[in-house]
């Protein structure tokens, strides 16, 4: 989907942060708790479906995506997945926050879960695909100029752009269907090289840009 998470090439974010040495993984203890809670939450819904998690992230409101920091964003997406599968009732988390602060707030009853009837065929994302790869190293391709309603890893800034197959990567399940618990549709994946001036125009900095694109994102560029 064309959402807030698809940041490649967007402007107005200001300068890059200068790295500091020995930054800890979690700036505050709650960040570690949110990290671990999110990982465990994914496993309670329908296997460790990372694509469903990424789709939850991209569906967050701009405030929920930006305002609570990186692990706050994870927490919000984990809660969204729990709401989607009716493991949590709407408002349950915030009601508990208020109760923990001594307020007399009624908490919603735990609902009857409706988890997706779905199971991945194996752990992880790598899969075997019997069909030969449609493209070979050196083939000229074009990223399709499409705008899917649901989840996709076809980044917006490359849609419609011409590139060259640089490397054939291991086949993997397709995030676009897996994220929605609709099946794996495993495909070949390619590292596709693009020229920066093909993507951003003749005045762009010259550099080589590579992205990993699933076979169904690509068409031959004849």
């Amino acid at each position: 989907m064309d959402g807030i998470a698809d940041m490649g090439g967007s402007q107005g974010w200001g300068g890059a942060s200068v790295p500091t040495a020995d930054e800890p993984p979690f700036a505050e203890p709650w960040e570690g708790r949110a990290f671990a809670l999110t990982l465990l939450t994914m496993g309670r819904i329908s296997g460790q479906n990372l694509d469903a998690f990424r789709h939850a992230l991209e569906r967050l409101s701009p405030d929920d995506y930006m305002e609570d920091g990186y692990y706050g964003r994870w927490l919000n997406a984990a809660e969204l997945m729990l709401l989607d599968s009716v493991i949590l009732a709407p408002g349950a988390v915030n009601a508990r926050v208020h109760r923990n602060q001594g307020e007399q707030v009624e908490e919603p009853a735990a609902p009857e879960p409706r988890k997706p009837d779905y199971k991945a065929t194996a752990a992880g994302s790598l899969r075997t695909v019997e069909a030969e790869p449609r493209f070979a190293v050196g083939d000229r391709v074009r990223a399709k100029d499409i705008s899917p309603e649901g989840h996709t890893r076809l980044v917006g800034y490359l849609r419609g752009r011409r590139g060259v197959i640089r490397r054939i990567l291991p086949a993997a399940l397709l995030p676009d269907s897996h994220a929605h618990f609709r099946g794996e549709d495993a495909q070949h994946v390619y590292s596709v090289g693009f020229d920066s001036q093909e993507v951003w125009g003749p005045d762009a900095e010259p550099f080589r840009l590579s992205a990993d694109l699933f076979e169904s994102y690509l068409e031959a560029d004849s």
Binding site: S17, G32, R33, R44, S125, E205, F207
Partner: protein, 198 residues
């Protein structure tokens, strides 16, 4: 596609994390001891020191370096490093002529088994948005000025493949032991936003 706003009341994420942990623990859906273990793993065991060992070995063992560039995942596993976010790792060699740098524009995909969890600058929207558009300017802002004769190669981690940069070995380290070399290698150099200094 509608968006959703679980935190529309804008309560503190620290308080909301505590509340969610309580709710899921009471329902038997999470075990706080398992959470402690996840946190401890990434605070103490899995971090850029792993990647630094891989790099130092590649600098001192040409056959290992070749295996690392040919089959990154297997060569990294030789040193005992594997796990989540490391299903297939591709290693990119930086040279005097080519400088590789890695980004994830869609989220913050990062090779956990060798680098641990990503630092704040990697997750920053400015890095995610601009590294695929004006990498030399971004790198200069981060403290790395590259000569005009260096080719810049930017890798957007848009699938489950993860990328690790093999930095250039700094001059003057010919006599260093592998463990001394590993101590020089930084997280920033293994993503490609810095060089290794001495």
């Amino acid at each position: 596609m509608t968006t959703s706003a679980p935190n529309s009341d804008r309560l503190s994420p620290a308080l909301r994390t505590e509340a969610l942990e309580q709710l899921l623990t009471e329902r038997g859906l999470v075990d706080p001891a398992v959470m402690d273990k996840f946190i401890s793993t990434y605070e103490n065991d899995v971090g850029p020191l792993n990647g630094a060992k891989v790099v130092a070995k590649a600098w001192t063992d040409p056959e290992y370096k070749q295996r690392l560039l040919d089959e990154g995942t297997a060569a990294i596993k030789e040193l005992g490093f594997s796990g989540p976010q490391g299903e297939h790792i591709v290693v990119l060699e930086n040279t005097a002529a080519v400088h590789n740098v890695v980004v994830c524009t869609l989220c913050s995909c990062y090779p956990w088994p060798v680098l641990g969890l990503p630092p704040s600058w990697y997750k920053d929207p400015a890095y995610r948005s601009r590294m695929v558009r004006e990498p030399r300017i971004v790198l200069a802002e981060m403290g790395l000025e590259l000569g005009e004769d260096v080719d810049v190669a930017v890798w957007d981690s848009s699938s489950e493949v993860r990328y690790l940069v093999l930095p250039e070995r700094p001059a003057g380290t010919e006599d260093h032991a592998e463990s001394d070399l590993a101590a020089l290698v930084t997280r920033d150099a293994m993503v490609g936003v810095a060089k290794v200094g001495t």
